[in-house]
Symmetry: C2
Subunit: 147 residues, 2 copies
């Protein structure tokens, strides 16, 4: 698991280069991280959200398997490396500012993306068009575990 | 546009409370922000990604219209307030850690979520299973502007 390779990406350029150009210039934050949104390639459901450093991004691009940077463990994290629920990348995109990554994936193993055993980390609904604050109650989302 | 209300949410509790509970305990980062993923309620396409502070989150919940916190302008930002491309919330979710918000929306106005005039901010593909680094080239994604 020890990283043996470093990845250097182009630095962010002008606004036009970043927004309109086709040179990949990922913008990492002050901690060297870029947010990554993961959706189910088939259903469009958001499965999880995490961060990548340059190494995780480079490895994901090269291997087609999603790697993150675990902020809590301060370590490279091959998602599903232990559970078998590896994320195979169907498509990877970046946004206008090149400061976010969107990954459309298929989930291997038992198909559960969340460490709680659920298909998606987003299993609870936040109330909308009601009072917002300390009394707000979540509700469980409909079960989408039909994979 | 001057904020006249402050929103207080419950503080994050124990791991069990946060992951399994139905009390909404949004976890804001050190800057008081929580990431928000916006997808098209119909297609599942990721439209954009931005941040909310407590006020933006509270207003979004109360009004059913997406509000963000603009980090560049350091101001509350009603998305589409100028362009008319307001995001109406169909569903709002949070994740296992309650530190991310997912919004499924319909886009009002001309239906373009991105300030570049595109339907989604994610209009470019990152190459997968090829070399990653300073030579990586993006490609334009298929045009999904069929709303």
């Amino acid at each position: 698991m020890a990283p043996t390779k470093t990845y250097a990406f182009r630095s962010p350029g002008s606004k036009a280069e970043v927004e309109s150009g086709l040179d990949f210039r990922p913008k990492f934050d002050a901690d060297g991280l870029i947010p990554a949104i993961v959706t189910d390639a088939r259903s469009g459901e958001v499965l999880m959200f995490a961060f990548m450093n340059a190494e995780a991004l480079g490895l994901s691009m090269e291997t087609g398997i999603v790697h993150f940077w675990s902020r809590s463990r301060a370590a490279l994290w091959k998602k599903g490396g232990e559970s078998g629920n590896v994320f195979k990348i169907v498509e990877m995109r970046t946004d206008c500012d090149q400061d976010v990554i969107w990954l459309r994936v298929t989930v291997e193993g038992d198909g559960h993306a969340c460490h709680t055993g659920r298909r998606s980390c987003f299993y609870r609904l936040v109330p909308v068009q009601g009072a917002a604050g300390e009394t707000s109650q979540l509700t469980l989302a409909p079960d989408t575990d039909d994979a």
